[in-house]
Symmetry: C2
Subunit: 269 residues, 2 copies
Amino acid sequence: MKAVDKLLNKNYQKKFICVGLDTDIEKIPSCMKSSENPVIDFNKKIIESTIEDTAAYKINFAFYEKDGVDGTKSLRKTLSFIPSDILIIADAKRGDIGNTSKMYARSVFEYFKFDAVTLNPLMGKDSIEPFLEYEDKLSFILALTSNKSADDFQKLKLESGIFLYQHIIKKINEWNLHANCGVVFGATNITELRENIISFYSLPVLLPGVGAQGGSLEDVVSLFKAAGKKIFLINVSRALLYKSGKEDFADKASEELQSLNKKIRAILS
Amino acid sequence: MKAVDKLLNKNYQKKFICVGLDTDIEKIPSCMKSSENPVIDFNKKIIESTIEDTAAYKINFAFYEKDGVDGTKSLRKTLSFIPSDILIIADAKRGDIGNTSKMYARSVFEYFKFDAVTLNPLMGKDSIEPFLEYEDKLSFILALTSNKSADDFQKLKLESGIFLYQHIIKKINEWNLHANCGVVFGATNITELRENIISFYSLPVLLPGVGAQGGSLEDVVSLFKAAGKKIFLINVSRALLYKSGKEDFADKASEELQSLNKKIRAILS
């Protein structure tokens, strides 16, 4: 199934929350730490308890890479728990010269078999193209990120009168020949989201920054409703994974996800 | 030893070439392909034949990540061949929100024990800081890259009248409180290098783009000589690794490296 269709199916079922598996051994409940592989077992339980209600899963590579060979194994094992009809995003923020991006694309799409990836566009079109050659996959490209220092460069005003992140959105639309581009837009930038939501056109939007980072779910969903747009994913990681620090962590994650879904549906209805 | 001192020692010995280990199984000589692990064995031979003459090694993560668990093992094994007095750069172009960059920094500096890393600054200061907390390491931050599409964003003119890459260089200088920042500047941008070399101040400069990408070694070295700057690394990957496609590949790589060193010394003397 094409990556975008997996997303559309879930969005059609009014599922818009993406569960972010930023699994940190130091934050998982102590009851899991005696398990042989706490990260894998924690992820398995989180996936089992959220699978019916999530729109997608996003795996943050950094949290696995920090454990090298073992982390790579954990990442791969985690993917095996997710059924093929659910979109899985490699949150890797890759981007390099052409021959190198080609290798990163092989890693993400062929070795790990992810449906989608997050990319950093600073190096321009030829750093993104090797990913876009995979027409059935989705590439979510950073436009405006959720962190405070997004101001440093992304919000710089260009000589042309627009901001750098607006120019990036324009370019992403140009690169979207196979309808396999998406955009990453931090939910913490609600004013900018309001002013630019129209410029996304048909691009699916991945919104990090709700929850631990302070973005408002209600504000984001209201804007998408007002704009008549229905292809988006709101990522929640820490606020869901670590809702409870006890044995009931998986149940609490599931309850939190259902509660978020309920809030979204109330706004959209 | 501090990363910057490893670099200074080699530069003092008039060694300025960094051997880039972008090892591609499809490009290594056929005589190596029957070996149990061609990538590891190829790297070992290349390292043995270049160790006396190189200033540093740069490992391009993409070429190892594409093989997942096995690639991570190859990367680690390759590092074991390099003695501790030689600077080893993780060419990973990482950069993410703070808590995620912290994990990437742990991967590169603690798990793999690299001396240095390449970083993508698009997400701003808080995406770079977790790396800079490792005061003995070196972080080479992208300013202007060697690829054609560097034009797309890095060469955009800002409202303030300077180009984005110039603003990035300014910020890198501000972030350099522990003297552990460096800058990546593509050797293919010789005009921009001439005009901006003075703005690097004390930042070590990593220059990709010589060789297969078309940058001129002579032009680059002449500019550093004229500017009176002596902390730089010119990366050469493909033009050295695949100089010969036969059994003599390691000898030919060594000869090529010595020939490049000779050219550089002739210009500098």
